[in-house]
C-alpha cells in the first residue's frame, strides 16, 4: 500500500493506492453522487452516476471502481458530468413506475434526492410505463418492482453480508428484474432468512416493510458499516458518535 497524491477539482489531495477515487474524494469532503455504491458492499460501477473526468483521456471513469494514480487530475463536477447525471436519473425515472405522492419512502428516497441534486425539472424521454410485478408474499416485507432501479444493492448485501443469496437478476436489458431464489414468490423462498438487510439498503421504495404508509419508511444503511467493520477490522464502530 502506498500513499499517492492527486488533484480533484483543482484541490491537491492524497489517498491510498488501494482506495477508490470515490473514497478519496469523500475523505476530502468532495461529494460525488452515487446510487449503486454503498459503503460496506463491493462496487459494480453500474449506475454510472459517479462518473468523473480524468485528464489525458476522453473516457469517463466510475469513481467507485477506479483506483488513483500518482499525479492524476480528476474533475467530478463539470457541466458535461452534471448533464449526464441528470440524464441517468431521467432514464431511471422513465423505466419504472414512480408515483412519489403515494410512495412509502416519499421524502426519504435516494432516487428522489438525486433528482433534486441533479435539478431534474422533468423527464425528457418518454415514460416506458412497464408492467412490473409486486410481490407481497413475504410475511414482513414487500418487493415492488415498479420502484426498482436495479442497483443490485439487495443482491450484494444478501450474498456478501448475509450469505443467503436469495436475490439475483433475471432477464436482460430493459427486461432485467430482481428475483428471489429461482423466481419464486419471496414468501416461499427457502434461502431467505428474513433478516431485512435488503430492505434497509434499498435506495428506493422497491423493498419495503409491511404496514408502512405513504412517506413513513426511512431506510437505514449505517448498520452495514457496523457489521462490515466488525468483520473486517474486528472493531465495533460507534454509529452515533462518529458522524462526520
Amino acid at each position: 500500500m502506498a500513499i499517492l497524491t492527486l488533484t480533484i477539482n483543482g484541490e491537491h489531495v492524497s489517498g491510498k493506492d488501494d482506495e477508490s477515487l470515490l473514497a478519496i474524494a469523500e475523505q476530502h469532503g468532495i461529494r460525488i453522487p452515487t446510487l449503486c455504491h454503498l459503503d460496506g458492499l463491493s462496487d459494480v460501477g453500474a449506475c454510472r452516476l459517479c462518473l468523473v473526468e480524468i485528464e489525458g483521456t476522453p473516457r469517463l471513469f466510475p469513481a467507485c471502481t477506479t483506483k488513483p494514480r500518482e499525479g492524476m487530475v480528476v474533475s467530478t463536477d463539470t457541466e458535461r458530468l452534471r448533464k449526464y447525471r441528470r440524464m441517468i436519473i431521467e432514464f431511471l425515472a422513465s423505466e419504472g413506475n414512480h408515483q412519489c405522492a403515494v410512495c412509502v419512502v416519499n421524502n426519504h428516497c435516494e432516487l428522489q434526492n438525486m433528482a433534486y441534486e441533479t435539478a431534474l425539472t422533468h423527464v425528457s424521454v418518454p415514460y416506458l410505463y412497464p408492467k412490473k410485478e409486486l410481490d407481497a408474499s413475504h410475511e414482513n416485507f414487500i418487493i415492488d418492482r415498479n420502484r426498482c432501479i436495479l442497483c443490485t444493492r439487495c443482491v450484494r448485501v444478501c450474498h456478501e453480508v448475509e450469505g443467503a443469496h436469495t436475490w439475483d437478476i433475471a432477464g436482460r436489458g430493459i427486461d432485467c428484474e430482481i428475483i428471489s431464489d429461482l423466481n419464486q414468490p419471496w414468501g416461499t423462498s427457502e434461502s431467505c432468512t428474513s433478516c431485512g438487510k435488503c430492505v434497509l439498503v434499498c435506495p428506493t421504495g422497491a423493498l419495503i416493510e409491511k404496514g408502512e404508509a405513504v412517506s413513513e419508511m426511512e431506510k437505514k444503511t449505517d448498520f452495514l458499516r457496523y457489521i462490515v467493520t466488525a468483520r473486517q477490522k474486528r472493531e465495533w464502530v460507534n454509529l452515533d458518535s462518529d458522524e462526520e
Binding site: 454510472r48 422513465s94 416506458l128 430493459i174 427486461d175
Partner: protein, 550 residues
C-alpha cells in the same frame, strides 16, 4: 511427439495423398452444408464407388471456399477447377465427365481468374478449400504444428512475443489492440497460474468469419493458442464458442482429441517442459458474452455481465489470474507468423495495419460470401472487383462495417483504404469482419433502427445508460421513421447517442449509438426530410376559431 516425428507424419501424409490421381474437395462448412452440400458429398462418394475409383480419387471435406452465395462448391485440387451450384446430378457429371473423361463441366465452372479470387490474399483461410478439416494429418502435411514446434524448441517465450510484436498483428475481435503488446503484458504479469482464452462468441449479426475458420481449419486455432500459452506461460486454454455453432464445436472437439492423441496438446509438448491443454466452454449466444470481462465471468460459471476495466484481463482475468484473450482470427494468424517470421507478415497490408482481414460480404451485392483481403485494400476494390458491385439497376450507397458497433462508409469514400486508422476517420471501425453493402434502395434510418433494435435486445442491463438509453434511442428512431418526429426529437436523439456512448460501462453500450451517429453524419437528409417543426404559439387571431368547451 518430437519435431522429427512431426516431419515424418507430414511426409507420410503427403506421400499418401500423392498416390491418388485426383483430390476432390467439397465445402463442408455450415454454409454449403445447409444448401444441399451433404447430399453432394454423398453423391460424389457414390459416383466414385460406382466406378471403382475410390483408390484413385480422394474425397475430402474442407472449410469454406468463399463463394457462399453460389454454393455448394466443389474443387478439383490438382488443376484448380472450382464448381459452383453443385447438386446431385452435377456431382455425378463431375465424376463422369471431369474425372473419367477429362473434360470440364462447363455450365458449373467458376472463373477462378475473376477478380473475386485474384484480389484476395489468403493467410487465415489458406487451408480452407484444400485440407480436410477433420484430419490432423492433412493439417500437418500442409505445414501444421511446425510453428508450435519452432516456438517450443527454438524460441524463448520472450522471443515468440517479439516475433508477434514485429509482425504488427492487431486483434481481429474488433478493437485492433496490438497483439504483441497484449502478449507481453500477460507474459510479464505476476502469477503462477495464467490462462489463454479464445473468443469464439462471434455475435455480430450476419458475421461468420470465425465460424468458418473453426469449421474449416480448427487445428490452426489450437496451434495459435498453444503458441500463446507457451509465450505467456499458461498451461490451460479455453475456447468460448456459442452453442449456435454445433458443427464448429464438433470439429473443435475432434481436433482437440486428435491433437492430444498426437501429443501436440497435453504434457511435455515436443519433449519440452511445456504443458498445454484446451477445453471448450459453450456460451448461450448472448452478444455481450463476447465482451471479454463478461466472457470471463461466463466461463467462471457466473452471469455474463461485464465489469469496469481496468483491471484488464491481462492482469486480472479468469479466476483473478492473468489471462490472454484473443479472437479466433487473431489466433489463426499466429502459426504463419511464427513459421514465416514477423517481418514477412508486416510486409503485407499497411504499416500500421498489417496482414489480411477476413470479411463476410453481405447485403446488396452480387457475390456474397467469405473473403480475405490485404489490409489497406481500397473499399472500391472489395465492393466492385471482389463483390461484383450492387445488383442490376441500383447504385452503391454505403458499406457498413463493424455491425451494431460500427458505422457506414458512404460512396464518396469508396477509395478509402480498409485499415484501422482510415475506417476510424469516417467514424466506422474495422469490427470483426461483417461488411454489409447498401444500395440506392436502402433506407438509412431503417438501417440505424435495425442495429439499435439489436442492441436493445442484447444489452445485458447492468448499467443504466445502455439498458434504458438504447430503448429510448430506438423509440425515437421509430418515431422519426414513422414521420411523427420533430426537430426537437432529432436534437434529443443526438444528445442521447452522445450520452450513451460516453457513459456506458462496456463496449456494447459505448458503441451502440455508432450506427445512428454515422448515418446522421452522412445521410442526415434522410432523417430531416421526415421531420416537422414542433407545435408552438400561434399569434392571436389565427388559431382561435376552434375552441373546446370544458
Amino acid at each position: 511427439m518430437t519435431v522429427e516425428e512431426l516431419r515424418e507424419v507430414a511426409e507420410t501424409e503427403r506421400a499418401r495423398q500423392g498416390n491418388f490421381r485426383h483430390r476432390i474437395t467439397y465445402c463442408s462448412a455450415a454454409g454449403c452444408a445447409s444448401c444441399g452440400g451433404i447430399a453432394v458429398h454423398e453423391a460424389l462418394a457414390k459416383a466414385l464407388k460406382a466406378r471403382n475409383l475410390e483408390n484413385e480419387v480422394e474425397l475430402a471435406g474442407t472449410g469454406c471456399m468463399g463463394l457462399c452465395g453460389e454454393g455448394p462448391l466443389v474443387r478439383i485440387v490438382g488443376d484448380g477447377t472450382l464448381y459452383q451450384r453443385v447438386d446431385v446430378a452435377v456431382a455425378e457429371k463431375i465424376i463422369e465427365e471431369h474425372i473419367v473423361q477429362g473434360k470440364k463441366v462447363a455450365e458449373n465452372l467458376v472463373d477462378t481468374t475473376d477478380p473475386f479470387f485474384a484480389s484476395q490474399v489468403k493467410i487465415v483461410l489458406e487451408n480452407c478449400g484444400t485440407t480436410d478439416s477433420e484430419k490432423i494429418d492433412d493439417y500437418i502435411a500442409a505445414g501444421g504444428y511446425e510453428a508450435l514446434a519452432k516456438a517450443v524448441t527454438e524460441l524463448q517465450p520472450a522471443g515468440v512475443v517479439e516475433e508477434i510484436r514485429k509482425s504488427g498483428l492487431r486483434g481481429r475481435g474488433g478493437a485492433g489492440y496490438p497483439t504483441g503488446l497484449k502478449w507481453g503484458i500477460v507474459r510479464k504479469a505476476p502469477g503462477e497460474q495464467k490462462y489463454v482464452v479464445c473468443n469464439a462468441d462471434e455475435g455480430d449479426p450476419g458475421a461468420f468469419m470465425d465460424r468458418s475458420v473453426l469449421e474449416g481449419d480448427p487445428h490452426r486455432v489450437l496451434e495459435g493458442m498453444a503458441i500463446g500459452g507457451y509465450a505467456v506461460g499458461a498451461s490451460q486454454g479455453f475456447i468460448y464458442v456459442r452453442a449456435e455453432y454445433p458443427l464448429a464445436i464438433e470439429r473443435l472437439r475432434l481436433a482437440i482429441k486428435h491433437a492430444e492423441r498426437a501429443g501436440l496438446l497435453g504434457n511435455r509438448i515436443f519433449d519440452s517442459q511445456f504443458n498445454f491443454r484446451i477445453d471448450i466452454r459453450i456460451g448461450a449466444g448472448a452478444f455481450v458474452c463476447g465482451e471479454e470481462t463478461a466472457l470471463i465471468r461466463s466461463i467462471e460459471g457466473k452471469r455474463g455481465r461485464p465489469r469496469p476495466r481496468p483491471p484488464y484481463p491481462s492482469e486480472k482475468g479468469l479466476w483473478g489470474a492473468p489471462t490472454l484473450i484473443n479472437n479466433v482470427e487473431t489466433f489463426a494468424n499466429i502459426a504463419p507468423i511464427i513459421r514465416k517470421g514477423g517481418a514477412w507478415f508486416a510486409a503485407i497490408g499497411t504499416p500500421k495495419s498489417t496482414g489480411t482481414k477476413v470479411f463476410a460480404l453481405a447485403g446488396k451485392i452480387r457475390n456474397t460470401g467469405l473473403i480475405e483481403v490485404p489490409m489497406g485494400i481500397p473499399l472500391r476494390k472489395i465492393i466492385f472487383d471482389i463483390g461484383g458491385g450492387t445488383p442490376e439497376g441500383t447504385t452503391f450507397k454505403a458499406a457498413q462495417t463493424g455491425g451494431p458497433s460500427g458505422g457506414c462508409i458512404p460512396a464518396e469514400s469508396l477509395d478509402l483504404p480498409v485499415d484501422y486508422e482510415s475506417l476510424a476517420t469516417v467514424g466506422s471501425i474495422m469490427g470483426s469482419g461483417g461488411l454489409i453493402v447498401m444500395d440506392s434502395t436502402s433506407n438509412m434510418v431503417d438501417v440505424a433502427k435495425y442495429f439499435m433494435e439489436f442492441c436493445v435486445d442484447e444489452s445485458c442491463g447492468k448499467c443504466v445508460p445502455c439498458r434504458v438509453g438504447t430503448v429510448h434511442i430506438h423509440g425515437l428512431l421509430e418515431k422519426i421513421s414513422e414521420g411523427r418526429g420533430t426537430t426537437d426529437d432529432l436534437a434529443l436523439l443526438e444528445e442521447l447517442c452522445q450520452m450513451v456512448k460516453d457513459t456506458s460501462l462496456c463496449g456494447l453500450g459505448q458503441s451502440a449509438p455508432n450506427p445512428v451517429l454515422s448515418t446522421l453524419r452522412f445521410f442526415r437528409n434522410e432523417y430531416t426530410e421526415l421531420l416537422h417543426a414542433p407545435e408552438g404559439y400561434v399569434p392571436s387571431g389565427t388559431a382561435n376559431e376552434k375552441s373546446i368547451a370544458q
